[in-house]
Symmetry: C2
Subunit: 246 residues, 2 copies
DNA sequence: CGGGTTATTGAAGGCTATCAACCAAAGTGG
DNA sequence: CCACTTTGGTTGATAGCCTTCAATAACCCG
């Protein structure tokens, strides 16, 4: 399971990044964006199925997804793990390792992906000259807390169909925020991974998919999903907490 | 539901605080502790049942609990809320409001309590002269993410008895960390609040309490709990993720 | 002491997990 | 190129856990 490192020099500027409107640069004024160049010293390619980081590793950096997608899961000493989230481009990985200094979760690429490495010592140097950057990390971490709290609510209170409907709506919203088509997409994860994440078995996920399809809310073939009745799906998912989480 | 404000001047020094070993001061060298004085400009008294902050309010500060206890819950537009956590002294409240600038949750005192108000603008000034303080916030927020992820696992995977056992063990650990007796304590919350937090109904919580009592793991009378067989309770709760959360 | 909140206990029903069989797709190797 | 294997997905029957509904009891506060 190799992870390929891609360095360095050229084309690493945040100022030239296509995701600048949703990533770190969004927190500094347009005039200052070029001053961010140098924050990212390297990028990593992570091939499908490989891990970006594993639990126990030193957590001295955070990672912003450039393309591809990831799952993060908590591994529970020799028992089954729990997938705490799926992550799309512009998402930030590795925030949960700051408490202990080592990663407590593991991030695995669901497809061939690339991330920007933000070294935290480097990062701290930038917070001095660019105060907005400090607020960015605080905001990102706060958002992660909200995302987790929303999932707590979902896992503790909603039925299986509501969980899956909500998952699809949030996933779709995440794609839309990146400029992709929100109503027709390919799921990058298996039924088992979805079920694990939502606190359901893979059989239940499968059943609910056909149930939603029978109700005319969507069509599904393997991992290809087309949302037909978005309002109904959103209504089924129940009130959102305003988190762009999935 | 009034909240009483207690200012100011005297006796607000972090350097003289009994909780200095578990609060902000723990992140700076002993020599620098006096330099923290001035970080906390005021404290708030919050009477039982009152809210420290409500959702929608501006989030320009975070709060460290001095004594008492709180619950934080997410309110889901006109539907039932979900309690995202219970908090003991040295716990920090208000971290989830940093993403939007307004609080998305509500913190309510379970008993007459007092918190230190850490103004965030003030806080940023201290991060310049005391680098360790910056790491403190990062660590605290990261820990909150881990706590939430652990709860996601619990809500998605464990049975009712495991959930309650785990809750009691974590609560007990929290008390122990503060120097209180870990095996005999008073719960500050109702069965309904416990159930809400754990994704169970109040009836189930009640039933599991008597079930655990029948099994000889503890005794319970209303809110008075005495843990009799801590190893068994811990075993039942399943493997922990190393978070001091409850 | 009385009324309202909180907690306990019971019976019935629903939702989801479990077990199991079958199917489809993708990858492997001769 | 095609058996063979593996992985992922669907569907069905049964069982178990928890919720819901309901009644009763204990406790607390004014």
């Amino acid at each position: 399971m190799p992870t390929h490192s891609v360095l360095t020099s050229e084309a690493l500027q945040c100022s030239a990044c296509a995701l600048s409107h949703v990533c770190v640069p969004s927190c500094v004024s347009p005039d200052d964006i070029t001053r961010l160049d140098g924050l990212v010293k390297r990028r990593l390619r992570v091939s499908r199925g490989s891990h970006l980081f594993a639990q126990g590793e030193i957590a001295d950096a955070i990672y912003s997804i450039r393309f591809g997608s990831f799952k993060t899961h908590l591994k529970n000493a020799s028992e089954r793990a729990h997938i705490t989230g799926f992550h799309l481009p512009s998402g930030v990985l590795g925030l949960d390792g700051q408490a202990s200094g080592t990663h407590v979760s593991e991030a695995i690429a669901l497809e061939d992906s690339e991330v920007c490495v933000i070294d935290l010592h480097e990062f701290d140097a930038f917070t001095g000259s660019l105060p907005g950057v400090r607020g960015w990390l605080r905001r990102i971490m706060s958002q992660e807390i909200r995302r987790a709290c929303q999932l707590m609510f979902i896992l503790g209170n909603l039925r299986s169909d509501q969980r899956l409907a909500g998952f699809l709506v949030r996933y779709s919203n995440g794609l839309a925020a990146l400029g992709y088509a929100p109503n027709a997409f390919v799921l990058r994860m298996t039924r088992e991974e979805i079920g694990n994440h939502l606190g359901l078995t893979l059989e239940t996920v499968s059943r609910v998919f056909t149930q939603l399809a029978d109700a005319g809310l969507l069509t599904v073939q393997q991992r290809d999903v087309v949302i037909l009745d978005r309002p109904a799906l959103t209504r089924l998912a129940g009130p959102d907490f305003g988190c762009n989480a999935y």
